[in-house]
Amino acid sequence: MTYKVKLDVFEGPLDLLLYLIKKEEADIFDIPISKITEQYLHYLEYMELLDLHIAGEFIVMAATLMHIKSRLLLPPDEQPPEEVEEEDPRAELVRRLIEYKKFKEAAGELSELERRRSMVFPRSVDETQYIDQTEGPYFEASIFDLINAFSTILKSVSREAFLEVVKDEFTVEEKVHELFHMLVEQPVINFKDIFKKSRSKIELIATFLALLELIRLKEVMVRQHNIFGEIEVVRNPNNIGPKLKAAVEGTPNGTV
């Protein structure tokens, strides 16, 4: 498959770490490095399997994690040089994560300010000012939620299905259209259901990449009622228009 979804529209390595820490219900000040590193690498494998364009930053973080892990395994120095306080090898990472988390939270607050601002109208109504926020108690699922859900689906597909000789080739483009038609008929689809028709691993992957592409193009949104809950795929109410065809056929230009 020569189809790469650019991940920079989605989240980065720090997001993945925060996601894993939350998922493991781990204490950010006492990160279980072994476990988190293992999981982190696991996600990278999935990203590779999906042939997602993995940014170099993800690899650098993997190396950082392994470095920290190895240092935690070393016995402490017999004679600490003078009275230099030995810092936890994880300290630097914790600092970065916390610093980053502050801004993630600030981004959430900005989003709320934007919503409030969109409720008041000045004397001249700007026709594009209103930001639809009728999403209710949902929040957007992250790329890691999607990968997580997808890994469950890959595992649950029976081996037999994989042994079937499937000659058909699937292109992501076809899947984009298929998915789009599904959403026209049924505006809210459970994440699992978009894979119902898929017969092979290749087809599953093509479907998943099609979903990512539609998210990137802001044609669809993925949302959850609660953290790590079921994922629903919905059409983006802000973007219902006939732009899709042109956007898919043209080269993806990776705008955010």
Binding site: R71, V94, R95, F103, L113, R117, V120, V125
Partner: protein, 230 residues
Amino acid sequence: MELSEAKKIIEALLFTSEKPITIEQMKEVLEEVDAKDIKTALADLQTEYETLGRSFKVYELAGGYQMVTMPEFADYLKKFYRVKSKDKLTKPALETLAIVAYRQPITKADIEDIRGVNVDGVIKTLADRQLIKITGRKDAPGRPILYGTTKEFLDRFGLSSLNELPKLGEFTESDIDLSELKQGLGGQEVQDGTGEVTQEDRPVGQEDNTAPEQQGAAERQDRPAEGEGK
């Protein structure tokens, strides 16, 4: 001029203006009335509308004042004007914007340090939407470009100035007692070149500010054990 007279003139200005009017602009018209009295008049107007239960209010936005409708009528107005939605900002875009807003002026490299990813695309999007702009160049090797937020940013988020940004995060560096990290193993400082962490909970005032009271200006805290343990 009587204050009550000035108040009526201000009301007339606000009523007709499609854009926020600054105190300075009002002063030009009202001549002998000073800024303090104009502020009082604006507050009076606001109280009046509130007590009368009007459907509009005086709103301080992007350094000026404007009449806007009350939020509860949003749905009807939206219907009437067939208002379309503005393109929503993606999470990475909002995060990057938050970093620029709180840490401006800031270079792309510094933003990337915090976010841990390349931000070329996001910076372009934010600049295209005029939410950020180039504010200068840093006096450092390569003279990297510095970014800051714009008036459009303030408008979009309903802020009158940068000082109105919500306080940043409940964690501050001082809350993190690093000695409490439960394992004190390891002999070296991790070298991953993130550079120093500056601590400031509010952005430093910049030209768009009407009330440039500067707070928390880049107060640096040295990291414990920085460069030690070798």
